[in-house]
Symmetry: C4
Subunit: 231 residues, 4 copies
């Protein structure tokens, strides 16, 4: 019974992915963490969304060991585990292959900050982590993916609390947040921003990045100490 809360949270967050048009078949997964118990609940691998239920969510610790549950956890479980282990403040993680974000990941480009929709959520370009070395890929691949994500943020001097989304080059996006629900929200925001950035470049090849004053203004009205967005 002690895992019920995070199983419910992970279940509900997973079920949002098809509703938001972010997944085809089983191409995505969400997890929700319990920091006190040191475990997270994650989608079982390859199980269609319509067959999911809260109790099917697999309980895993931060070294990716299955703690409870009869199903095999998502094949991306080790990436989730690494991020939970190193990032104390996150409560949920999402991985999808959503169309536009994945196309940017395949192009190996950061998503430039072209407008306020982007700035409402991030103060910088959304980074694209470079593809891993062949050694990392042949080794413990999903585990290394977690380190590749952390390494990319560090090199770009971005905090995981400010930048809650990333593209993994040649692969697809990961997002996170204080809760699984917030991480799903970030996945939908990323997909929308990715589509708008793509269209912006099609409409004007040399579209300028947003100027600093606007970046600061929009981020702070939602997230700064004097924020005035929401209730």
């Amino acid at each position: 019974m002690k895992y019920e809360y995070i199983q419910q949270a992970a279940y509900e967050a997973n079920m949002q992915l098809p509703k938001l048009g972010l997944v085809l078949f089983t191409f995505g997964n969400v997890s929700a963490v319990d920091r006190n118990l040191g475990v997270f609940a994650i989608k079982p691998s390859g199980v269609p969304y319509e067959e999911l239920s809260p109790e099917k969510m697999v309980i895993v610790d931060f070294d990716a060991n299955v703690v409870a549950g009869t199903l095999r956890p998502s094949s991306d479980t080790k990436t989730h585990a690494v991020l939970y282990k190193h990032w104390d403040a996150i409560g949920g993680i999402v991985h999808t292959h959503s169309t536009y974000a994945t196309a940017w990941a395949q192009s190996l480009r950061d998503i430039p900050i072209y407008g306020t929709t982007h700035a409402d959520h991030n103060v910088a370009d959304i980074p694209c982590a470079p593809p891993m070395s062949d050694e990392m890929i042949k080794g413990d691949y999903e585990y290394q993916t977690g380190f590749q994500i952390m390494d990319c943020l560090r090199k770009k001097k971005l905090s995981y609390q400010e930048m809650e989304m990333i593209l993994v080059g040649n692969h697809a996006p990961f997002t996170w947040g204080k809760t699984a629900e917030k991480a799903v929200y970030n996945s939908a925001v990323l997909e929308s921003v990715a589509q708008m950035a793509y269209l912006t470049e099609q409409i004007r090849q040399d579209a300028p990045r947003l100027k600093d004053a606007l970046i600061k203004k929009h981020f702070e009205r939602k997230h700064g100490p004097d924020s005035y967005y929401g209730q």
Copy 2:
């Protein structure tokens, strides 16, 4: 009870935004004005559409003071207030981050008048207001956004009664109309025209603007003194 009518109008108009595919999450807001009372009803900030009800619409005067309601109004309230104060003939205002219109706003380009779908509603390119100066942004940002919109129309010699839509550069579209319902209609038209203009340029880079005779004909058959569209 005296605000019930505009609360209902604002509520119904807000609920059209997700139905028409114009908003993701809470990225949009509609207001409806009562000219006699000198107030308007507007969406509360950050409240999901599925949780809205007419009585949650916040009542605000033309200086953006909350007159009635327990929730905080939309963060864009000051922009609405400025426009209602200066434009006597409008009854409703809409702000969205709809995908194609926002991509044009991010490209800082006016939407060229390429066809009759556009001319059925506007006789000119849909203007894109330039980004504000850093001083305006750092100052009373949403208030200045209203003036930036009015200033852009003035410089382009467009009347707000003929051109009921605008892009705010680097940001997103605003539309208005005689009623909140008409303003929502205009948002959907803008999004459709923005998509068609984008596709037109992709299909033919040097697509010509619509010729004057057709612009005049189509606008007048819907809006001229001898209009013969509708009942």
Copy 3:
């Protein structure tokens, strides 16, 4: 009661347009003809689809005079009348502003025959009629639109029985067929072919047109004397 049949046919065909995603608001209309009575039933102008009913369809003769009905007919009625008057074999006509077909119309380009989806329905590029002269536009515009359509087919040596769709330059598509239902089918096919042709050119700028043997084969297996498609 004698118009009931075509009113029902026109009503049902009109209701297909929003279901097939071919119209926003009231941007489209369908008519169905009765050759014996020399009249057609057409959508009333500017009435939302959800408010339509069979008896609201307006009965009009081939000179565009209203014969029965209390509502004003579609503003495009004269175009329908001209085509019914001159083309004996058609039973229905559709006009929409569907997104991709309209973008091609705005680009003033014929849609090249790039594949078998196109060839299953047409043996030639889908023509785009040039914009009318200013005199034609300022005159009886919708009436002249009908002649512009017929003139374009004639110049391209296309029969209206083989080519059941056209783009009106700067404007939008018209389609027709033996029945109103078939004309709606053609509108959906046109939109799909228009989207595929757009994407084909994006993927390969110099994509070749379909070769003659394939054009002939695909058209004939659906429409030739030895056709073997369908029941």
Copy 4:
């Protein structure tokens, strides 16, 4: 009664096509084989999906002779028959004109392997078979289409068990799999991969193909002897 099982399988798989957005009207068909009986069940030609039922599926042998059923089978039946005859291990075949895959087919290009969504399913570019010679087209066209598909895989040294999808140049995609259900799954995957590859090239014209280590890793985690995806 002995055909009931494959009729049910073919029916259910056919009904997935409109649900997955892979067909407009009747532009697609699925078949399911019974290897013991040497026959397959296939969609009747030109019958709308909403009018289908299991017993309407036509039973055909590997030489394309109708064995049971009162309706005419899909016009593409001979292509299905040829593939079943030569490829022992497949249980289902799908043909659609899905938008993005068809656009690639019309461009006569293989779909480059740009990311892991592709590599999760295929280790190579998705091939586009060249258009057939005029003789093949004028001859037994659908029969030859089957040989054109087999010939293309052979020339590219691809096994039909590893590469379960192909584009037929100027035409549209075919997919197959161990079951009809899996073949439909492959059609949806192909459409998604086709859309992402298109967007990738738009975002970055010189996007690099996925490197070998990643191709191998992703394919093997789903399909290799040590696969760890799914239950």
